[in-house]
Amino acid sequence: MNIDEFSCVGKSVPKVDALSKVLGTARYAEDIKMSNMLYGKVLRAGVPHAVIEELDVSSARAMGGVACVLTARDVPGINRYGIAFADHYALAEDKVRYAGDPVALVAAETEEIAAEAIKAIKVKYRLLPVVSDLHEALAEGADRVHDERENLILHSKTRKGNIQEGFRKADVIVEETYTTQTVDHVYMETESGVAHIDETGMLVIQSANQCPFRDRRQVAMVLGIRENQVRVIKAVTGGAFGGKDDVTVEVHLALLAMATKRPVRLVMSREESLVSQSKRHPIEIWSRWGATKEGKLCAMEGRVYGDSGPYIGLGAFVVKKCGIHLSGPYYIPNLKVDSYSVYTNNTFNSAMRGFGVTQAAVAHESQIDRLASKLGINPLRFRLINALDVGLTNATGQKCDESVGIKPTLEILRQVVLKDPELKNMWEDLD
C-alpha cells in the first residue's frame, strides 16, 4: 500500500478530542456530579512507620451528615491489592508503612463535613524505627517494613560475556556512584473519580486512570465480588505519565459506594496527591566501565538499588529495567549488572515515564563522558564508535536486526555541530 492511500498514517490530523477540550466540555472525573452524591475523604497516616494501637472512629460516625466511616475491619474481601503482587493494603490494619498510608475512609453529605469527620477520627500510634536508607534496609537484622517478609523485593541479574576478560583489555576504567531523587509526575489533574451502583446492581467507577481492566480486577478482590460486577470507566484524564497506572482512588471509591449504596466522589487535594501517590524511584547506581585506548567499550559492571517505598506497585519491574538498560544504547561485549528493589518507609514509588531507564541514563551518559575525557576522544565521536547498530547484541543478548536509531540520531547531531562555527570550535575532532 502506498503511503498516500492512508488517511492518517504519515499525515497530520487534528486530535479527536481537542474540540471538547478547547470548549471546556470534556468531562474529567472531577466534573461528574450525580444526584444524591456523597463526598469521600481519606485519612492518611502522617507518620512513616508505626503500630496502630488505637483507632477510634465513633465520634466521626456519630456526626450529622456523615454517611459512613470505614476502617480495615469493614473491608468485605481481601484487604490487599497490587498489579503484580498483592502487598498494598486498601486500609491499614495493624500498622502504617509510610506517611501516605490510608487509615480510614469517610463519606459525607458535603466536603466540609467529610473533612470535619476525618479530623474527629482518633488514632494512637506507637512509632517504629523508620527504614529509610537502602543499604540499612538490606543489612542483616534490619527492621522490616512487612513483618512477614524481608526488605529485599527482587534481585535481578543481567549477564553477558566475561567481565574479567573484558576489563583485562581495558586501558582506562571509570568507576562512580550516581544517585537520583524522588520525582512526582505532577499531572495537572489530581487523582479523582466517582463511583455509583447502577440500576442492575453493577458497581460503576469513573475515574482518572490508565488501566481500567487492571483496576477492576483489584477492586473486585478487595470487595470480594466477581470482576463482572465491577465496571471501571476511564474518564477523560488530565495527565498520568505512569502515576495513574496503579490504583489511586478506585478501591476507596468502591468501598464507600458499596457501603452507602450512594454515588460518591473522591478528589485528592494536591497535597494528598504528593504525599500518598506513586512517584519515580530514587535509584542508587554504582558502575564501573572499561574502554580501550581506541575508544571501544570492553566491559561494564553495575549495581542498582531502587527504593520502592512500602509497596511494590510496578517497582520491581522499574528497578529491573534500570539494570537491564544500564549499558544504554551502546554495545558492550562483557557486562554484569545486579539490580535490587527494596522496601522502605519512604514514599511509594512505581511507574513514571521511562520506567527506570531515565535513571539509568544519568549513569551511562555520565560514564561515557568521563571515559571520553580520560581518553581524550571527542564525546560525540566516542558515542558514535560505541553506539548499537544492526547486527550487534544489547545487554540481554538480543540481536538488533532492524531499525536501530541511535547512530543516525548522533549523525544528525554531528552535522548540526559541524554547521555551527562556534560549536565546531568547541568540539574539534569531528570531521
Binding site: 497530520s12 487534528p14 486530535k15 478530542d17 481537542a18 474540540l19 471538547s20 477540550k21 478547547v22 470548549l23 471546556g24 466540555t25 470534556a26 468531562r27 474529567y28 472531577e30 466534573d31 456530579k33 509526575h185 505532577v186 499531572y187 495537572m188 489533574e189 489530581t190 477523560v236 484524564t237 488530565g238 495527565g239 498520568a240 505519565f241 487535594s269 494536591r270
Partner: protein, 162 residues
Amino acid sequence: MTETIGKTKLTFTVNGRETEVLVDPSWTLLRVLRESLGLTGTKRGCEEGDCGLCTVIMEDRAVDSCLVMALQAQGKTVETIEGMGHEHALHPLQKAFIEEGAVQCGFCTPGMIMSSEALLRQNTHPTVEEIKVGLSGNLCRCTGYTKIFKAVAKGSESGGRL
C-alpha cells in the same frame, strides 16, 4: 430551607448573563463556578494560585478563581471558557489551539485560553516573549509549551506573524 442558612446572595454577570446564586461565604469563585453553576470547564489543580488551571477573566483581567472569594465577584463581570465560543463558532484562540496541536490531556487548556485572551485584549500583537510572560502563571505538564505559544500567536490579530 437548610440550604439557605448561612448563605449569601451573589449577583454577577457570567458569560454575559445576569446570574444570581446563593453562596457559602467561605467558598471560592472556582467552587461556585464548578459546583453551583455547573461550569466545569474551569479546572482545579492546586487551589493555591500555583497552576493557573482555574484562570477566568474578571473585569477584563485574568484571575486565579481559586484565590478569589466568590463574594468578591459581587456585581462583577466574569468570563469562563464556556463563554468563549461554541462548536460552530470557535474563538480564534480555540481554533488555533486545535490546529497547532497545543492540546494534549487538555486539563490546562481552558486556563491557558483564558490567560491568552486576557493578554490579547491588552496586547493585540504580542511577541513570543510577551506571550511567555502572559502565560507565566499557567502550568502545562504535557506539551512543553512551544505549541501553546505558537497557538496564541496564531490566535492573535497578527495571525501568527511574530
